[in-house]
């Protein structure tokens, strides 16, 4: 398929109006040595019908969360997405638009982001949210950079109970900076408070905490915050947005920056992207924040309208003085998240969170009754993801469970080499009792022999 519309007559006509005889003349400024000449390497196009077929075939070589009953989480979750979401984001008015550089003809995008910012603030308990970052991990990285800029310090305190993959992204972002990462030990599945006290001092730019953490356990933010020795130290919380439907807001517990992975807000799994990173913080830091922010204003006739604001921070103005080079957001994904949050609304998000909690605890109870399975962190509160310790080779168990049609969870050893036999299991509102019961009975059978 060619999406260039010109007929050969039109090409002819346009060229001759320019005084050229051939298309080649348009490229005569390119030195011969820099020209590409091996036409034989260029393959032919294919018809839409054939490409559809090809792509369908490729897609069918992948196994989806419809093929498996999914108990896998670890930052990406198989949740129910209301039908409204795709009906909104498949409107070309949203998906084919660009960055709202011309606010007069971009009020749809701008007002929507203002609403999105509001919802994120309400979710997190923060004052300001930006228009989103690439994903949760990059949002966390940008939060660390922002914390360093605000505090003018360089020590970053990270509990081991924070997702190691995401931490790895943070470290990549900080390559070449003077950031110094200080790890805090884990104890019983949560941050080790003694170690935290040891590691924290007045030189700390930021303390990071995942909420719930990478074992599903709800960290005690208030207690962590209490260990801070300097007012300049920023408390950066990376929070699960569905958990925030039930749990106290990080903003009410002392967080200065709250970020998170927004996939759960109506975005399909899509092998990890596109997702969105939400990014919220206290008002006083607004001039240090990365990304774009939309603000309310009025037009010259006094009518309400919205614009990109704090534009001096936009990279295309600041250039080398910028502290972040991000110049997009995950625009369309924020539409998805807004439609999700508006569809579920106040009651619905609570209900999703409640059902996830209840179902996870049901499964936890059932599983940990099985011989050979025990609670990894029995006395800690968790939300909808938990760790069990299984007295078996987890790789084999996983293989067998997949054959039975289940994605049984994440083997923690891959992220935490010291954690043998631990399986991280996520339960969302989509899972039914029936699915969980048969999951339990299959595991039981396999463990028996």
């Amino acid at each position: 398929m060619a999406y260039y519309p010109h007929t050969s007559e039109e090409i002819e006509e346009m060229l001759s109006s320019l005084g050229y005889e051939s298309i080649e003349e348009l490229f005569e400024d390119i030195p011969k040595e820099a020209r590409f000449n091996d036409e034989s390497l260029l393959n032919e196009g294919t018809s839409e019908l054939e490409v559809s077929k090809l792509m369908k075939e490729l897609s069918e070589k992948n196994k989806t969360v419809d093929d498996y009953i999914c108990f896998m989480g670890g930052g990406a979750y198989d949740r129910y997405i209301p039908s409204t979401v795709d009906h909104v984001i498949s409107r070309p008015e949203f998906y084919t638009a660009y960055t709202p550089y011309q606010p007069e003809v971009s009020q749809g995008t701008l007002q929507h982001i203002y609403e999105y910012q509001t919802m994120i603030c309400r979710l997190t308990g923060m004052d300001v949210a930006n228009a989103s970052m690439y994903d949760g991990a990059s949002a966390l990285a940008e939060a660390v950079i922002m914390a360093m800029n605000v505090s003018r310090k360089n020590k970053i305190v990270v509990p081991k109970s924070l997702n190691p993959y995401w931490l790895r992204v943070v470290k990549t972002y900080l390559l070449g900076s003077d950031a110094e990462f200080v790890m805090v030990e884990e104890k019983n599945g949560e941050i080790d408070y003694c170690d935290l006290e040891d590691k924290i001092d007045d030189d700390v730019a930021a303390v990071l905490t995942q909420y719930p953490n990478s074992f599903g356990i709800v960290e005690n933010l208030k207690e962590i915050k209490d260990k801070f020795t300097s007012k300049k130290t920023m408390f950066v919380v990376m929070a699960d947005p569905i958990a925030l439907g039930l749990l106290k807001k990080p903003g009410d517990l002392g967080a200065d920056i709250v970020v998170g992975e927004g996939q759960q807000l109506g975005i399909p799994l899509s092998f990890g992207g596109p997702y969105l990173g939400y990014f919220a913080f206290r008002k006083k830091y607004v001039r240090k924040s990365p990304g774009r922010i939309i603000g309310k204003t009025e037009d010259k006739e006094g009518k309400r309208g919205f614009v990109m604001t704090y534009q001096t921070r936009e990279q295309h103005i600041r250039r080398e003085k910028a502290t972040s080079n991000i110049c997009t957001n995950q625009g369309l994904m924020t539409v998805a998240a807004s439609v999700y949050m508006s569809t579920l609304g106040k009651q619905g998000l609570r209900e999703v969170a409640e059902q996830s909690y209840k179902k996870a605890h049901y499964l936890f109870n059932e599983l940990t009754r099985i011989d050979g399975i025990k609670k990894a962190y029995p006395d800690k509160p968790f939300f909808d993801e938990f760790v069990i310790e299984v007295n078996t080779d987890l790789n084999k168990l996983k293989y067998k469970m997949k054959k039975e049609g289940y994605l049984p969870g994440i083997i923690l050893k891959h992220q935490y080499p010291e954690k043998d036999n631990q399986l991280l299991i996520a339960v969302t509102e989509k899972r039914t009792k029936e699915e969980m019961d048969s999951f339990v009975s299959k595991i039981k059978t396999i463990l028996k022999g």
Partner: protein
Amino acid sequence: MTELIFELTSPGRKAYTLPDCDVDVDYDDKIKDFIDEEPVNLPEVSEQDLMRHYVELSTLNFHVDKGMYPLGSCTMKYNPKINEDIARLDGFSDIHPYSADEDIQGLLEMLFDFEKDLKILTGMDKFTFQPAAGAHGELTGIKIFRKYFDNKGEDRDKIIVPDSAHGTNPATASMGGFEVITIKSNDKGCVDLDALRDAMDETVAGLYLTNPNTLGIFEEDILEIAKIVHDEGGLLYYDGANLNATMGISRPGDMGFDIVHLNLHKTFSAPHGGGGPGSGPIGVKDFLTQYLPVPVVKKDDNGNKYKLDYSLENTIGKIHGFFGNVGVVVKAYAYTKLLGLKGLKKVSEMACLNANYLKDNLKKDYYLKFNRLCKHEFVLSGKNQKAENSVKTLDIAKRMLDFGVHPPTVYFPQIVDEALMIEPTETESKQSLDNFIRIMKKIASEAKNNPETVKKAPHTTPVKRLNEAKAMRNPDLKYENE
């Protein structure tokens, strides 16, 4: 005025249903203290209200399916509809990112095959699809710069960026911990070789460049530029924002670039989504493959299966929480299959034809600083209109809105006063280009004969010119009326 969704809220109203909870479990004592008594104060609307709200919002937007969008450097080409359908196939959209390799063979095959095409197209040796946007690709690149020189034990702390560069280039350099050296363009709109030679030494990590540059001009001395940088041990980074100009005609790899990023949402027709998601894969020459972020896609030893390989020796690590915006890559891949690399060459030819056609037809009406062959875009200036009738480029841009076309990128590149950076792309028809020319000429004439009409524009948009100063002065960044 469109109501905010919060203003439509009625307490207790619902747009959702959920299955009844089929397990009987209570909150345990451990969690109780952590529970927030009040649910999050999200909107409460009906599905009908919700759909009307978002449909109404959508109608306030300009978009590619509405009209021409000649934003220079943004490549606002048509987004084929088939791509949207393909990306929504369950087999792409419903895969968990931690799926085992054997469960994602189709996806890995696609990435592997796409990489093959991109290698041919760019002349590079290895790609990663992890960067989620062009700027993210740049960031990945700068981290490779950093790690590469650290590994070599070379202490290079500067990056050269031309004054015509995209703003992301210096911002990125600075995020890599490098000092930015800006070099001036010469009177042909290109990198000044002497300035480059002066700036380039063993403390410089390399040069960020886009070619054709932001003036739409092909850097004729590219081979010499590469030589200067390489001779001093530096690296050459290619900003792929302008790749739409030279596909199948001139390859960054052959020009001497060591790292390139591509913008799948520009050149490869994935939609821009109102500001994202994008996808900015980067490709590197062989000697840098070990620095790429992990994982990369490989065929296994017997060549039958695909796998994700985490074993890169000097990897900079991970740059994305998972593996990048795979859903965007799917669209770009489908597009590439549809056109073939041959079709992509034709894309560049038509994109350049359209740009030159516009340039030629508008240069009498607007000042053209660099009057020469351009590639996919060119830069006009409104400085005459400003001088003669105090009509600023911003006014011209706003006036265009009244005629149903989106304005070009304005005030960029900064080396052209009152710049109008125009990139029509290959998907606009001749009729559409002629219409654009007519509008631009009409505005030029209005600027002379009726300047107030232009200065007060826009007249027909959903809102009139907005008070940006007020937004800064009294920041209102969320709806407070809880």
